[in-house]
């Protein structure tokens, strides 16, 4: 792990702390009131606030998770150098695309 990846990893972690607390609180609130598509979508559809919240969350999580996966793969697999970089970017872009699609689904569709 080099300095820039380390910095991004810690920065995204720190920024996600309040987002995760909010996410956990939402999960607990929602499960106590019964999860349904109508409930989720009623909350999120057309809401700029939730779009921004989840948009930032997906972006940070994609960066954080892909750097983390790279670190673990460097330690626990025989991957080195270029394949590691490809794995990191591949996983990050995958999360970003799927995350963007999910946000579009619950906010705009």
């Amino acid at each position: 792990m080099t300095l820039r990846l380390y910095l991004l990893q810690r920065l995204t972690a720190a920024l996600m702390v309040p987002l995760i607390v909010g996410h956990l609180a939402t999960i607990i609130y929602a499960t106590h009131h019964g999860v349904s598509a109508a409930e989720i979508l009623g909350r999120t559809r057309g809401s700029l606030g939730w779009a921004l919240f989840y948009g930032l969350f997906v972006l940070l999580a994609a960066m954080h998770a892909s750097i983390g996966v790279r670190s673990v793969a460097a330690d626990w697999t025989s991957l080195r150098g270029r394949p590691l970089t490809i794995l990191m970017w591949g996983f990050g872009v995958l999360l970003l695309l799927l995350g963007a699609r999910a946000i579009y689904a619950v906010v705009a569709s």
Binding site: L24, A38, V106
Partner: protein, 121 residues
């Protein structure tokens, strides 16, 4: 590396609280990374129609799935608190009291995670 010990002579450190905390942090991170794409895919079901998402959410009423869900909340809470622990150790100036602080953080992580787990069940 040739000539390196074939046998892992040293394993005692893997019983230490701090080492266990670091590994729990790493393993919870790996599991969350595996879960995230699935999570996004399921939410993406709403693109097709609300019924598809509801169909999936019906399925989440099954007890086994409920336990798995609680497990995910547990993982997220544990990874969050483990991460806060790392950020504190890396960025605060170390004082003698800090070891206790780190341990307290681990303890809080366990208790809070357990509470989440029980409530979500």
């Amino acid at each position: 590396m040739s000539g390196l010990n074939q046998r892992l002579h040293t394993a005692g450190h893997r019983r230490d609280l701090f080492w266990v905390a670091a590994i729990v942090h790493r393993v919870s991170g790996i599991l969350l990374a595996c879960f995230l794409p699935i999570h996004f895919l399921v939410l993406g079901l709403a693109i097709e129609r609300t019924a598809a998402l509801d169909g999936f959410l019906k399925w989440t009423e099954l007890p086994a799935v409920k336990i798995a869900e609680a497990g995910l909340v547990f993982l997220l809470a544990v990874h969050l608190l483990g991460g806060i622990r790392v950020l504190l150790i890396e960025n605060l100036t170390w004082r003698p009291s800090q070891k206790r602080l780190a341990t307290a953080a681990i303890g809080t992580a366990g208790v809070v995670a357990l509470l989440f787990f029980l409530r979500a069940l």
